[in-house]
């Protein structure tokens, strides 16, 4: 009896564990959905505050593979960042069209010793990061208002105003470094359509690129008091064979004053790279 009872107990425990394990994992997402976030006076989930990525992503190269990261470490002496932001396709690579593979290779081969300024990382030239690159670049402050959300980035005084008032996007021929953003809330997820990009921003230093036909849909899911799950779906029929997805986890930072970050003024990166007069 005793043994049988013990046996049943063990079976129960193991069975319970077997049952519990997938249940816990399976419940994780619904539990977060049930999470009732604080709200702004007008009823939006209140994501205000200071945030930055916790996904160990370098802006050196967003594609899978550690070769580029090791190169970055060699050049910069930084600890290697091994995060892999591209979650779809599953190989972590950008699904370039054949011609675009060649162009990306050219960018990559040129990035250490560019023959022309346009082969030099636009951000190193102090140009704006574009979306989504700015979201894995550094700290951002989010401020919310009934008809718009403002994101103020520490890096290079980049800002975005995401309109929530249902206004249509600006005309197709207008091209912007940071794109044109229109947002809406779906439960705890802020969905932002970002259009009107120019063709001059890169996703990383080694020259992962897009055209001015790119469209980005961002999903900012307020997953917990100190966590936003950021998912960008990137589509560009001129450059990619299919849409692809980039995922970044944002964590909450201690509020700090944002001080001037003047990246163009006094930037000598291009002067040094090409031995140009000040």
């Amino acid at each position: 009896m005793r043994h049988r009872c013990f046996g049943s107990l063990v079976a129960l425990v193991i069975g319970g564990w077997l049952l519990a394990a997938p249940t816990v994992a399976g419940q994780a997402a619904p539990a977060e959905k049930r999470w009732d976030p604080p709200r702004t006076a007008d009823g939006q989930p209140d994501i205000q505050g200071h945030w930055s990525q916790r996904s160990d992503i370098t802006t050196y190269s967003i594609q899978a593979g550690f070769v580029d990261r090791d190169e970055h470490t060699r050049i910069g002496g930084q600890a290697p960042q091994k995060g892999r932001p591209i979650v779809d396709p599953s190989d972590g690579m950008i699904p370039y069209q054949p011609w675009a593979v060649e162009k990306a290779k050219l960018h990559h081969s040129q990035h250490l010793k560019p023959s022309k300024p346009e082969f030099f990382d636009p951000v190193s030239r102090c140009f704006e990061e574009g979306v989504p690159r700015i979201n894995y670049q550094g700290n951002m402050r989010i401020l919310q208002f009934p008809t718009y959300i403002a994101i103020l980035h520490d890096f290079g005084h980049h800002y975005r105003v995401i309109y929530l008032d249902g206004r249509p996007p600006i005309g197709d021929t207008l091209k912007l470094w940071m794109g044109d953003s229109r947002g809406r809330w779906e439960g705890n997820t802020l969905v932002v359509d970002v259009t009107n990009h120019n063709d001059k921003t890169w996703f990383d230093i080694v020259g992962s690129f897009h055209s001015d036909a790119m469209r980005v849909q961002e999903r900012w899911t307020f997953a917990g008091p100190d966590r936003i799950d950021y998912l960008a779906t990137i589509d560009d029929p001129n450059v990619f064979t299919r849409p692809w997805k980039l995922s970044v986890t944002l964590g909450r930072n201690k509020p700090e004053e944002q001080w001037e970050n003047a990246v163009c003024e006094g930037n000598k990166a291009v002067h040094v790279a090409f031995d140009l007069p000040w």
């Binding site: 023959s115 022309k116 704006e128 105003v161 940071m178 944002q258 001037e260 291009v270 790279a273």
Partner: protein
Amino acid sequence: MRSRFTGWVYAAAVLSFVHVTVGAQGGGGQSLPREANGRPDLSGIWQVMNHAAWNIQDQNAEPGPRETPWLGVPASRGVVEGNDIPYQPWARAKKAENDKNRLTLDPETNCYLPGVPRITYMPFPFQIIQTPTYIGVLYEYVHAIRNIYLDGSPHPEGPIEWWMGDSRGRWEGDSLVVSVKHFNADTWFDRAGNFHSEEMQLTERYTFVDRDTINYEVTVTDPKVFTRPWKMNMLLYRRKEPNVQLLEFSCYAFDGVAVGTRAKDQIGPEGGVR
């Protein structure tokens, strides 16, 4: 007919008097947009309607290049109180020299952050976002941001030399008063060579005239360059087009301005040397 016309004129005169009276109430008027805490709400997209970007003092029209006459300088009334900037003698000479060489010396030619107050009257819109403890000013011109802290915090100790200075605000009645200091000496006031040193300190006052107009007054103090404090005064107008929003003017990235594309930049066949 005549009497009816006179009647209309009379009515118009009364109405304009009423309008002026309401306007004069400024911050006291009930029609001003206000935050939940009762403070005037400066949120919105604003822009000056003057030519102070060219010259903060009185300016005669000047021709542009022959091929592009529309690039001439427009005539304008100055925005400096009394139209006189009290330069010290050496500084007045330097201002004249700056003006003469403005096509090469004006920091605007590099599209750097233009400093305060110059950014206010650049010919581009800017957007004010407001909370009880913080006001952000987002500028279309080179996507500059001004962070104005209203939480009672003091300026950082310094010495600090920032292009846009450090801004700390407070409310005096219905006026937003902003103290700005910690500047560098590399920005000008306008395209006419008016300049300051790193010792410049500003006191700005933003006061609603009516719900769509803000009176902007700035007092400039810089004992290294001027003999006394002096003031500028202008109006900020709300941009009311239904589709208005900030776009971008990142002119530092334009070909010809961006380093590597300037006329003086010769890049050999070897390319970069990193």
